[in-house]
């Protein structure tokens, strides 16, 4: 554990921070391709928001601020709204669309309450993260239900929203507990918090790698 925290963890942090640039560069490359769907632009916006969040986070630390967790609050909110928009454009059923709008309203409320009334803007937004993850997992499963019943997609690995749902399901299922326990782990020790961050970093690297393929698929669907 000591070896991991002293040798691997710093390297993992660097890689996790920079890795978001990979899908962003790939997305810029895919812009030249024809037949880009609305999902492509939303996905590119999602990656751009993540790049900006990482950049602003680094900048805030560089400028000498002690806490940059407010960036995570903003990023979580924007990320959820963009992902909800992607699912919204993928569903045709009015019930599902209304559900997504309702989820977005609920999430904005939870996010604001969590940031200003509950955990605070300087603490990790565990409640917001866990509730957002639960809602995104639900949306992903709803999309699974759609593709399994509509049978309009022959090759699922060609469907960008299906791939996004799979990636989100793995990412959110894997990181939910880390986010939920982060504040408690941080209160106990920095190393415990680092373990939580390491889990999210590994899954984020996998998620951003998957985003390259998803962006590619969104240009040809």
């Amino acid at each position: 554990m000591e070896f991991f925290l002293r040798k691997v963890y710093p390297w993992l942090v660097e890689m996790g921070t920079l890795w978001v640039l990979v899908p962003f560069i790939a997305g810029l490359f895919f812009i030249r391709k024809p037949h880009k769907s609305i999902q492509f632009w939303l996905l590119l916006l999602l990656v751009l928001v993540s790049v900006l969040a990482e950049g602003v986070g680094q900048l805030v630390v560089y400028l000498g601020a002690k806490n940059n967790i407010w960036v995570v609050h903003v990023h979580t909110l924007l990320e959820f709204l963009i992902l909800a928009a992607i699912f919204y454009t993928s569903f045709q059923r009015a019930l599902f669309r209304k559900g997504i709008i309702l989820a977005a309203i609920l999430f904005i409320s939870v996010s604001l309450i969590d940031a200003f009334l509950l955990e605070g803007i300087t603490q990790m937004n565990s409640l917001t993260k866990v509730s957002g993850n639960a809602m995104l997992i639900l949306m992903g499963i709803l999309y699974f239900y759609k593709v399994a019943n509509d049978l309009t997609v022959t090759y699922l690995d060609h469907d960008p929203v299906f791939l996004l749902s799979c990636s989100l399901l793995i990412l959110k299922a894997g990181t939910t507990m880390s986010y939920a326990m982060f504040n408690q782990a941080l209160a106990a020790s920095y190393d415990a918090a680092r373990i939580c961050i390491a889990i999210t970093l590994v899954l984020n690297i996998l998620y951003y790698t998957a985003l390259i393929l998803i962006l590619k698929r969104a240009t040809s669907c």
Partner: protein, 259 residues
Amino acid sequence: MLEILKPVIIITPVLLVLAVSIIAFVFQYQRRMLQHQEHLRVLQEAKQRQLLDATIQAQEEERRRVARDLHDEVGAMLALVKLNVHQLTAQSENKETGHQVKELLNEVIGSVRHISHDLMPVVLEKMGLPLALEAMKRSIPSSSGVQMIFTCNDTDKRIDSKIELFLYRVVQELLNNTLKHAKASEITVNLDFTVSDLQLEYRDNGVGFDYQALLQQVNNNHGLGLLNLQTRIELLDGKFNFYSAPNSGTKAAISVSIL
């Protein structure tokens, strides 16, 4: 530290396994549904083919019945009438009118025989496809100005009667088209039997037509004859290639398995 992280260490892998299982299930379920859908489509297609086959068989059966009735009943009655007319003419003083009636009767008997033969060629049933096509060649009226060259590598070869009949109908339809529209002077039909299949090639040196344009108009009832030919060959699991262009004549190549 590990005590604090215990829920993370236990629940995270469980959730990940759950997520991967859900994804695998969706993949599997969707694949099964697609396979089921494909199976239904194949069944439906087979049913349609059976229906089409039954319709064509019924049509051929009806043709056979009409041909038999024409030949056995109408033909026999006309022969009887001719005999009576002959006897009446022999007794009558006005032999000229009798001869005219006899000539007319001969024409009617010839027409009935011709129609009956077209509806169900006896030669095809008794002697097989090569000789039936040879008979078809002879039946082309010399007044049409069309010469048919027929070649076959095995004139005594017999194959499944259904294949013989379908191919005979195809050549019959192509020949009718040539005589009606092509303004051709020569038709070449080549029948080539191999161990496993049969190749039939039909060519004429007529004016031809824009086949691709005709295909576009199939919905407007044009080119339905050619479409019927294609359907018949597809029912035999054969291949039907047709080519025609203005001033380039017409060519049809058919390949059917005879195993």
